[in-house]
């Protein structure tokens, strides 16, 4: 009986009694959701344009930000550090295309997926070799003009607390999505990328240079990884444990759809708000730390009813 009360009436009563706190949770969930969306965006881009689920996206995120911080720590300016990190990610994309993707053209998707699993292990070791697995890197938030203070908004005798870092991440995500949407919809390269995603051979037959397309999309995903790494690293520190954050992208992608950039954002926000609200109001009744599995259960439910996700393309195969 107590359990039933704690999972039904109690959460509702808590929300009614303290609506400002509920609003705080919603806003924090949205902020967390934006951060999840940033991670998922890199996966989405590569999948959308090449049909490859890039398991190495989490490692790419850490490599990008490690490169940036290493250059900055060496005494160079922040702009140069950002530029070097971007060049590094583009170079990495060239290497991946040449060594991993090119021999895999026209292979089944599962083979490409397996290749990216191997790539993830290699890149982690490579990263530790280049940057040193032992060193802790700290994102230079001051140089990047990322605020670390809290904004306090008075509300009904209480207050809402928002972090400047989270707000910055939200603005970055919005800019990224707008830019990418324009890129995919309005540019020749963007349309070519979508053609490549539909069918490698067909795209090749109409003269689309597959190799260049792959390099471009992996480079763009690398740049997104850099932004994501900066945002996640700024709230703690930069080391290879950040790779674990990539796991958060999976339910976001399932929810939003693997091929939709706006879907990734909406999926991230739903996951962010959902898991924070669930943890705060139902977590204790269900044993605590339910946000570890909540997102995956939510994604599982979505898979049952809408396997292509909220905004994903419905796959119709004629036989």
């Amino acid at each position: 009986m107590d359990f039933l009360y704690s999972v039904t009436a109690d959460p509702v009563l808590q929300i009614v009694e303290d609506p400002v706190f509920f609003l705080q949770i919603i806003l924090e969930g949205l902020m967390a959701g934006v951060m999840y969306s940033l991670v998922a965006l890199g996966f989405c881009l590569i999948y959308k344009a090449s049909g490859v689920f890039n398991f190495a996206q989490g490692v790419m995120m850490v490599l990008a930000v490690m490169c940036m911080v290493t250059v900055y720590d060496a005494g160079f300016g922040i702009l140069l550090a950002l530029l070097v990190a971007m060049v590094f990610m583009v170079g990495l994309s060239f290497a991946i295309e040449r060594v991993v993707l090119r021999p895999m053209v026209n292979q089944p998707q599962i083979i490409l997926f397996m290749a990216t699993i191997g790539l993830a292990f290699f890149l982690e070791g490579f990263g530790e070799f280049i940057f040193g697995g032992s060193s802790q890197k700290i994102v230079p938030t001051e140089a990047l003009h990322i605020g670390r203070d809290a904004l306090l908004i008075p509300m009904f005798g209480s207050e809402i607390r928002l972090q400047q870092l989270d707000l910055t991440a939200g603005v970055c995500a919005a800019l990224l999505v707008a830019t990418l949407a324009l890129f995919f919809q309005k540019t020749t390269v963007g349309r070519a990328l979508r053609a490549v995603a539909d069918d490698h051979q067909a795209a090749l037959s109409v003269g689309i240079p597959l190799r260049s397309m792959w390099v471009i999309v992996w480079s763009v995903a690398g740049l997104v990884a850099l932004v994501t790494g900066i945002m996640w690293g700024a709230s703690s520190s930069v080391d290879f444990s950040l790779v674990l954050i990539a796991m958060k992208a999976f339910p976001v992608l399932i929810l939003g759809g693997f091929t939709s950039v706006p879907g990734v954002i909406v999926g991230g926000l739903i996951i962010g708000v959902g898991e924070k609200v669930a943890e705060l109001y139902w977590g204790d009744a269900l044993g605590g730390s339910i946000e570890e599995w909540f997102a995956y259960v939510l994604a599982l439910v979505f898979l049952m009813f809408r396997p292509q996700g909220l905004f994903g393309e419905k796959i119709i195969e004629r036989v």
Partner: protein, 436 residues
């Protein structure tokens, strides 16, 4: 083409066989396998500890030629803080004549506990691992001196009780714990709950799963809402700096937030910088590099090259912990050699560890005055009941802010004995009858 395939097969076979063959060969000397993690998610902390361990062994090798004339042979085995890989390291290296297992992971410690009496290799889980192992009558092969997690936790309660003006003032207060979801993180919960019943404070705890280490928003929102009088942390890796940052961001007072010794390195506070000012952590040795032993390390290990020393984390808290750990291993080895002569066995090393008597005089002889506090290991007491020191982050460095705080031995020891008997029953162990 065929020849090429044969050649590749041959090279592959050689590559596989060569490392295996080396495991069977052990040089003459005191062989110490070192389970280290310089890679993986916990590498920043693991590397510092490993650097401290090797720094000390290198120093006494160069300064003294080893221990009592015996050469020290140490070998790192990278396990990435993954228990399965750690067990593989243990199995691979034990044939070389391991004299001790020094896992630096509670998960790995638990896996090695049943192996220790079989292979006759003692385990030193210095200040971590299974608290119940403090009862040497049930666990003769496991040592957790100078203090177990439970003793540390009781010292935490004594410390905050004293800070509040007396233990009676704990009544009605709220104390919380945020911990890494793991065997290590859960270890102190029982002790905090027991002391809560005794002293009348309310206790709540929040787990941080590995995937949430860099987030923690929900947990800190709950914490701030509950508004505990004190928050403790049993964290590791990126969980620590994130928790310190989140505490500041969510408005929890930093001077009421105290971490265990795994949560008190420069790695944990530097990302938050000045905002971490006031954050405290427990420790069982002093931070910094100020003692004679540190000077000797600078001289012999790093050739007085401070830049090189700093590159190897000289003076950082976790580096110092590695040094302290190596110093205690060396002390056990020394005891065993003095008692049994050269070519000691694991069983003799166990005797050596069991007879460590770290007095003020002995600390001075080791050049460690002020570095650690005296403690004594016995046949039945494998933790030595070491006291705990508290250090505070002043915005740039750790400084000591307390005297040595004694654990609540009268409460903790019976709990340790009960836990040891319960754990020992799982493995059908019998109690030693040679402890007086």
């Amino acid at each position: 083409m065929k020849f090429g395939k044969y050649l590749i097969s041959l090279l592959a076979a050689v590559a596989v066989i060569c490392p295996l063959s080396t495991t069977a060969v052990a040089e003459d000397g005191l062989y110490i396998p070192m389970f280290t993690y310089r890679t993986g998610p916990f590498a920043p902390g693991g590397s510092k500890i490993a650097n401290g361990l090797t720094a000390y062994f290198e120093m006494i090798s160069k300064r003294d030629g080893g221990i009592e004339g015996q050469k020290i042979i140490w070998e790192e085995c990278e396990f990435g803080y993954k228990t399965d890989r750690g067990v593989e390291c243990y199995e691979r290296l034990k044939g070389k004549g391991s004299l001790i297992s020094n896992p630096f992971s509670t998960g790995l410690t638990y896996k090695l506990i049943p192996k220790a009496p079989v292979d006759k290799i003692p385990i030193l889980s210095m200040g971590y691992g299974m608290s119940g192992a403090a009862d040497g009558r049930w666990f003769p092969w496991v040592f957790n001196f100078p203090t177990s997690y439970w003793s540390q936790a009781s010292a935490f309660i004594r410390y905050v009780g004293t800070e509040m003006g007396g233990m009676d003032n704990l009544k009605g207060k709220k104390i919380g714990l945020i911990f890494l979801e793991s065997g290590y993180g859960r270890e102190p919960i029982k002790l905090f709950e027991t002391l809560g019943e005794r002293f009348g404070y309310e206790f709540k705890h929040w787990a941080i799963p590995a995937k949430q280490m860099a987030d923690q928003r929900s947990q800190w929102r709950k914490i701030v809402r509950w508004n505990p009088d004190y928050m403790f942390m049993w964290g590791w890796g990126v969980m620590n700096p994130t928790a310190v940052s989140r505490a500041g961001e969510f408005g929890y007072p930093m001077d009421r937030f105290i971490g265990v010794w795994w949560s008190g390195d420069e790695l944990d506070t530097k990302p938050a910088g000045i905002k971490a000012k006031g954050y405290r952590a427990g420790t069982f040795h002093a931070p910094g590099a100020f003692a004679e032993v540190h000077k000797d390390i600078l001289k012999f290990t790093y050739d007085n090259d401070m830049a090189l020393a700093k590159e190897h984390n000289y003076g950082d808290v976790l580096w110092s912990r590695g040094v302290f750990n190596a110093m205690l291993i060396a002390e056990g080895l020394r005891n065993a050699i003095l008692e049994f002569g050269s070519n000691i066995t694991g069983e003799e090393m166990r005797w050596g560890l069991e007879h460590i008597d770290m007095t003020d005089e002995r600390l001075e002889e080791l050049g460690a005055t002020g570095f650690g506090r005296p403690f004594k290991v016995t046949c039945s007491d494998h933790e030595g009941n070491g006291p705990v020191l508290f250090q505070e982050w002043d915005g740039e460095k750790w400084v000591i802010v307390s005297d040595w705080v004694e654990p609540m031995r009268e409460i903790v020891r019976p709990m340790l004995e009960e836990a040891a008997a319960t754990e020992a029953a799982k493995w059908n162990y019998t109690m030693r009858d040679d402890c007086t």
